[in-house]
Amino acid sequence: MLWLIHACGDSTMVKQLKEVLQDGLYNRKFIIGSSITLLFFAMALLSYTWTPHSVEEINIAVKLAKPSLEYWLGTDHFGRDIFSMLIFGARNSVIVAMVAIVIGMGVGVPLGLIAAAKKGWIDETIMRFNDFTFAFPALISAIMITAILGPGSVNSIIAIGIFNIPVFARITRGTALSLWKREFILAAKSAGKGSIQISLEHILPNASNILIVQATIQFALGILAEAGLSYLGLGTQPPAPSWGKMLNDAQTFIHFAPQLAIYPGLTIAITVLGLNLFGDGLRDVLDPKLRRSR
């Protein structure tokens, strides 16, 4: 891995990235977390080019098969290949969680920046609206929103995205408020910059580490929420495979084919754990104070 880091060019961006990666190699949480996360993304990408079997192909003759060379993790009650379904489910989870983060950050970060820059009634309004949306637990609000919009993967993306908005608004505002008190902001003001420019040129770049870490956490939560919604039949609709749907299907056979529940359950758990470790490790690696003390 090191040679890859060294092989890169020498622009400042790359240099910073190099530093982060080099530090990352000494952080166990970061290594484990990023490996799991990479594996998960690789699975999702793999689904575009290759899966051992088609996931829509129903073959009752081989239903509930044991793991074999042909079916690595066995088959489900319709004879579909479980491993292939897990790979497809990964793609589904990535897309839902990723787009939901884009929605959450796209709306939440500007709201947080505005709230911190303008203070006063604008801040009040934004934050009260935030409290309102925040009052509902993730899954409950997602269920409410899909109940209104109707089930389906697009609507579950919107639901999770909306849930992400106040999270990002709040953390952006909090970080921005403390940054606004720093002396370099006063210096930026004394250089003639206005609040929009300061928010974009000074606040946002200094908040980016915190936002990136929060994004990995929301990513994990998004995957959980998507699985939950699909489990309830409100998310991804069959025949498109999703981890939550697999869990739901497995319920019927829980006594004589528990592996049907164990595989997707374990996959969800490991992925979420990996993402959380990754976020945690990233927090340490990105923290300039920790870095300098090393």
């Binding site: 622009s11 370099f184 006063l186 210096a187 003001k189 004394s190 003639g192 206005g194 040129e201 770049p205």
Partner: protein, 325 residues
């Protein structure tokens, strides 16, 4: 000659949990074009607040009264947009802590270029050329200092040079230096002061040098005021104040400076003014310095003294100025 900057009867109060506290009052001075002017006083006496008032950057909970005229305009009548066009362009400021006054995640090149692009009508290419010239002129030649360095990769003195480059980027008419060398080593201090002096003289800017250090004021200014607990207590040409200080506080400040050629135990014998500076919310009724003054009289504790002329430009706020006859 019309002054480029005039501060008239400036007072600043702050809303605090304990009520409205007056931090500075009746600050009066003016700065002529190309002049080097100093404000000296102990930490906490209100020097930075005076500077921020001039930049119109007081905290939101501050209340200002009095007038500040910059280039013939009362800055209180300027819109926010006009103020932004003034700051960093016609009047700019160097801060005490170069580490905290620079954005930690941006390269020094970007931070200098930003100001240029904001105020001057130039494109990125021209801004980069100008940035290199600026770094050159503050003693950070591009042959050795890349534009892509981050603040944490520089020493304190080098960072302050970057701050200076940012401040002078648009060739302002007034440069405010608020304790520009307080955070630096003594050897570096000298070179930074020389640099500021050189720049100010070369481009005929006016300099407002703020420091708690009389030596720095002597070295860099032509006229000066002495501040104590939010007031100006003495003002005049730097030569006047240094040669014949008349306020007991100024006198105390001078006596507190270690003089060279004294013998080894000079430190212990150094005079220090008895007592402490009163907190802004616990200032006495009369003269703020009364409790620490070695020649305090009854009147000093009743009403604060007004500024009165000693001779020429030399003024003092004291009922019993020290006589030099």
């Amino acid at each position: 000659m019309m002054p480029v900057l005039e501060v008239k009867d400036l007072s600043v109060s702050l809303h605090t949990p304990r009520g409205l506290v007056r931090l500075i009052s009746q600050i009066d001075f003016s700065l002529n074009p190309g002049e080097k002017f100093g404000i000296v006083g102990e930490s906490g006496c209100g020097k930075s607040l005076t500077a921020l008032s001039i930049m119109s950057l007081l905290p939101a909970n501050a209340i200002m009264s009095g007038e500040i005229w910059f280039q013939g305009k009362n800055i209180q009548n300027l819109t926010e947009k006009q103020l932004r066009r003034m700051r960093g362009n016609r009047i700019s400021m160097i801060f005490q802590e170069p580490m905290s006054a620079l954005n930690p995640v941006k390269t020094i090149g970007a931070q200098i270029a930003e100001g240029l692009l904001l105020h001057l009508r130039i494109n990125k290419k021209e801004a980069e050329i100008r940035t290199k010239q600026l770094l050159d002129s503050v003693g950070l030649p591009v042959s050795r200092f890349s534009l892509n360095l981050f603040p944490h990769q520089l020493s304190g003195g080098q960072r302050q040079r970057v701050m200076i480059a940012i401040a002078i980027a648009c060739q302002p008419d007034v440069l405010i230096a608020d304790e520009p060398t307080t955070a630096l080593d003594v050897t570096v201090q000298e070179r930074i002061l020389d640099l500021i002096n050189e720049i100010v003289e070369d481009s005929r800017m006016s300099l407002l040098m703020i420091s708690h250090d009389l030596g720095i004021i002597a070295q860099t200014t032509e006229r000066m005021v002495v501040m104590y607990a939010g007031n100006i207590v003495e003002s005049g040409t730097t030569v006047d104040v240094f040669q014949s200080m008349v306020h007991p506080y100024t006198y105390g400040l001078f006596s507190a400076i270690p003089k060279p050629n004294r013998h080894l135990h000079a430190r212990e014998r150094l005079y220090s003014i008895p007592g402490q500076v009163p907190e802004p919310d616990a200032r006495p009724v009369g003269c703020n310095f009364a409790d620490r003054c070695f020649q305090v009289e009854e009147i000093c504790r009743i009403t604060p003294p007004d500024m009165k002329i000693i001779h020429g430009q030399h003024k003092v706020a004291c009922y019993r100025p020290i006589s030099h006859k």
